[in-house]
């Protein structure tokens, strides 16, 4: 099962190694992913309509992850956003989910987690037709 190349994923994280690992994981899973290191440029890229899925860190310079989700949900509510954080607590998790995040991961994340969340995304109704 090959994912559709029409799905493009954006990774927004200020940590280079995290972006690198995520990109490689997603490549293994058959997705193409771009990366940006701050929330503002990430939002801009998302609003351009090139991306259908987003990964975002919470702690970032400028716009942080929660803000990123909130802003993105206003314009593009259908895009699932997966939140990854280096020091997650239950509160931040709840905050992220309330803001409209699709999933919440704690660093260091596992390959299997990424795989599962991508499979879950594929189950979303509006992804049916595209997948």
């Amino acid at each position: 099962m090959k994912p559709s190349p029409s799905h493009k994923i954006l990774i927004v994280d200020d940590e280079a190694i995290v972006r690198e690992i995520l990109v490689e994981f997603l490549e293994v899973l058959g997705y193409q992913a771009d990366q940006l290191e701050d929330g503002a440029s990430g939002l801009k890229a998302m609003n351009s309509g090139n991306y259908t899925i987003a990964f975002a860190d919470i702690r970032m310079p400028g716009i942080d992850g929660i803000e990123f989700v909130k802003c993105l949900k206003k314009n593009r509510p259908e895009i699932p956003v997966i939140i990854i954080t280096g020091h997650g607590t239950e509160d931040t998790c709840k905050e992220a989910m309330d803001a409209g995040a699709f999933a919440f991961f704690q660093k260091p994340f596992h390959f299997i987690e990424i795989k599962e969340v991508m499979e879950n995304i594929k189950l979303l109704p509006h992804f049916d037709s595209t997948i």
Binding site: L22, F25, H87, K107, F109, F111
Partner: protein, 629 residues
């Protein structure tokens, strides 16, 4: 003008001495007045006493005069009685003595005897002897017994008498004074004989002279006008009046008392007040004697005045002393009361102060507890945040380690020519990330290394700088940074924990490195990073200050965030580059050793951190025991 007068008056009365003097004068005047009144009244009393005595004297003189005139009238009535007259008629008619005249004489004698017996004052006979004499003085009838010597009127000496012929004559024969009354018997204008009576002097004295309502005070004496005192022999207690001559008596003024000394030649003579009164128509004086001291007392009014004055003076002095004593006492009492009140006030104030102090101590203890609680919770929080920060820092490379490891596993499952290369890259990245983690852990360990250690020693700040530089030099070289080191030539001794100060220097150098790195990214190739570290000392208010300056020409700090630059967890760096604790830790370390940390910064131009420590002059024991590496 008026005001100045008032002021003067006020000033005058404000002087306490003058007021006291005036008070003394008033009291003295009052006492003088009292004494004067006393003197006057005493004098008046003496005068009135003398007056009373004089009045008594006059009364007695009057009574005596009346008594004598009574006697005269009594005799006259006998002399003119028909019995006496008939005798003289019969005699002139030539009646024979042996017959008719004898009867007549017998009758007269009976009358005379009867008179002698009957006339008395309260039983005391008035007359001693009654005689009828003829013109030649030969006694015709004598009431005296035959044994008594004959009385001849011719021997009676008539004392000098006033205008009228005297009623009474005084016989002084044989040094015996007799009061004699003589009444002529007149028949047809011719004196035929005389009726003579000799008065009982004792009766006269007893009833008119000697009796006295106040015998101790005054006494009276009957004196003939030629100066002979008629007195009974038993009057021994009386003063010796032999000196009192008739001349003296004559010279005595009638209505005044004269002072006479008895006896005059003696020093302690009796002083007698003497006066005399003439008895009307009788050659007699009535003398009054008063001993002076019974009237005036032993003191004269002047003596008493002096005595009273002395007493008054003593009383005055006593009052003055008493007032002074009382005033002093009052002042002392007032002072004592005041001091007691003061003491009381002080005690209550003390109590209050104690209470306040204990209250304050309580509050301070509470505050201290609160503060320590706050500090503990702060520490816990900061520990939690630090732990979170450390977790965050470690989680980033862990993502890389774990991700690369999983990718390696995934690659191993594949087959292809690129796999070994991939695996090698992955492992390389894993090593890099592990190094990064080691660096973070080193950082934490560095921070924790001397945590809780407060051992301080006297060390040379230059040594600390050198040790810190050896740690960062390698790092700086890898960043291709130039570090300038200008150290003071002399030793800069400070009393610190060298490890902690080393940490501070390390932190500040790391900050400087980040600042120049950040600027390098912006400014590009033309920018030449420059970091310098300098040490030195300067003198300020007799206190030598050691300083260390770490300066860079990096990105600088915006003015708006300078005030919060030393706050814990305040950071502008990327999350993987710091937790925001560095500068706050630096500040607390510097302040712990009595130092200060300041910074000068301009955004885009660079930052300089300057730390001051007080110089440690005297070498301490720790100087040798803990040599710094």
């Amino acid at each position: 003008m008026e005001d100045s007068l008032k002021a003067k008056l006020a000033n005058f009365f404000q002087k306490p001495k003058i007021v006291i003097l005036i008070a003394y004068l008033v009291i003295g005047t009052y006492l003088c007045l009292l004494m004067a009144i006393n003197f006057q009244s005493q004098t008046a009393l003496q005068k009135s006493t003398l007056k009373r005595i004089h009045l008594d004297l006059e009364k007695r003189a009057f009574s005596l005069g009346y008594f004598f005139s009574e006697r005269k009238h009594g005799l006259e009535s006998i002399a003119t009685s028909k019995d006496v007259l008939s005798y003289f008629i019969n005699k002139s008619l030539g009646m024979s003595e042996a017959y008719g005249l004898k009867v007549s004489l017998f009758v007269i004698k009976q009358i005379l005897l009867k008179t002698l017996q009957e006339k008395s004052i309260q039983g005391d006979p008035i007359y001693m002897r009654l005689l009828l004499v003829d013109t030649s003085g030969r006694p015709l009838i004598d009431t005296a017994s035959e044994s008594q010597e004959a009385f001849f009127f011719s021997s009676v000496k008539t004392a000098p008498s006033p205008d009228e012929p005297p009623i009474v004559f005084i016989d002084q024969e044989n040094n015996k004074i007799k009061l004699v009354l003589k009444t002529p018997c007149i028949l047809q204008g011719e004196v035929m004989g005389s009726l003579i009576s000799i008065l009982n002097l004792d009766t006269v004295r007893k009833h008119f002279v000697d009796f006295s309502p106040n015998p101790s005070l005054d006494r009276f004496d009957l004196v003939s006008n030629d100066g002979r005192i008629m007195r009974s022999d038993d009057a021994a207690q009386c003063p010796d009046f032999r000196e009192l001559t008739s001349m003296t008596i004559h010279q005595l003024p009638e209505d005044q008392f004269s002072l006479i000394k008895f006896p005059s030649e003696r020093a302690h003579a009796k002083q007698m007040m003497v006066t005399r009164v003439t008895i009307h128509n009788v050659p007699l004086y009535l003398l009054s004697w008063v001993e002076k001291k019974t009237i005036t007392g032993t003191l004269t009014p002047w003596q008493s005045l002096l005595g009273t004055a002395f007493l008054a003076l003593m009383i005055l002095l006593g009052i003055v002393k008493l007032v002074k004593f009382n005033t002093e006492n009052l002042v002392l009492q007032t002072r004592y009361d005041e001091s007691k009140r003061q003491q009381h006030r002080l005690a209550s104030k003390n109590q209050q102060l104690k209470h306040e102090i204990s209250q304050r101590q309580k509050i301070e203890t509470e505050l201290e507890e609160q503060r320590s609680l706050q500090m503990r919770s702060d520490r816990l929080r900061s520990l939690g945040e630090m732990a979170a920060g450390i977790a965050h820092e470690l989680n980033q490379p862990l993502v890389g380690v774990r991700g690369k490891a999983e990718l390696t596993l995934l690659s191993l499952a594949q087959e292809g020519p690129l796999v070994p290369q991939k695996i090698e890259n992955n492992v390389q990245t894993i090593i890099e990330q592990v190094d990064r983690m080691v660096h973070i852990i080193d950082h934490v360990r560095l921070f924790a290394r001397n945590a809780g250690k407060v051992e301080i020693s006297r060390v040379d700040l230059n040594d600390i700088v050198c040790t810190a530089l050896t740690l960062v030099m390698v790092q700086f070289k890898s960043y291709d940074l130039h570090l300038e080191k200008i150290l003071a030539p002399r030793k800069l001794f400070v009393l610190v924990n060298p490890f902690s100060v080393e940490e501070v220097i390390f932190n500040l150098l790391t900050n400087a490195r980040d600042a120049v790195e950040s600027k390098k990214k912006e400014a590009g190739q033309n920018y030449r990073p420059d970091i310098s570290i300098r040490t030195g000392s300067d003198e300020l208010e007799n206190q030598k200050n050691i300083w260390i300056e770490i300066k860079d020409n990096g990105s600088g700090i915006p003015e708006s965030i300078i005030p919060s630059i030393f706050d814990p967890f305040f950071t502008t760096k990327d999350p993987d580059k710091g937790t925001g604790l560095g500068l706050s830790i630096c500040k607390s370390i510097v302040e712990e050793f009595g130092g200060t940390i300041d910074l000068e910064s301009r955004e885009g131009e660079g930052t300089a951190f300057i730390i001051h420590f007080p110089e440690c002059r005297t070498p301490t024991e720790t100087d040798e025991t803990i040599p710094f590496p």
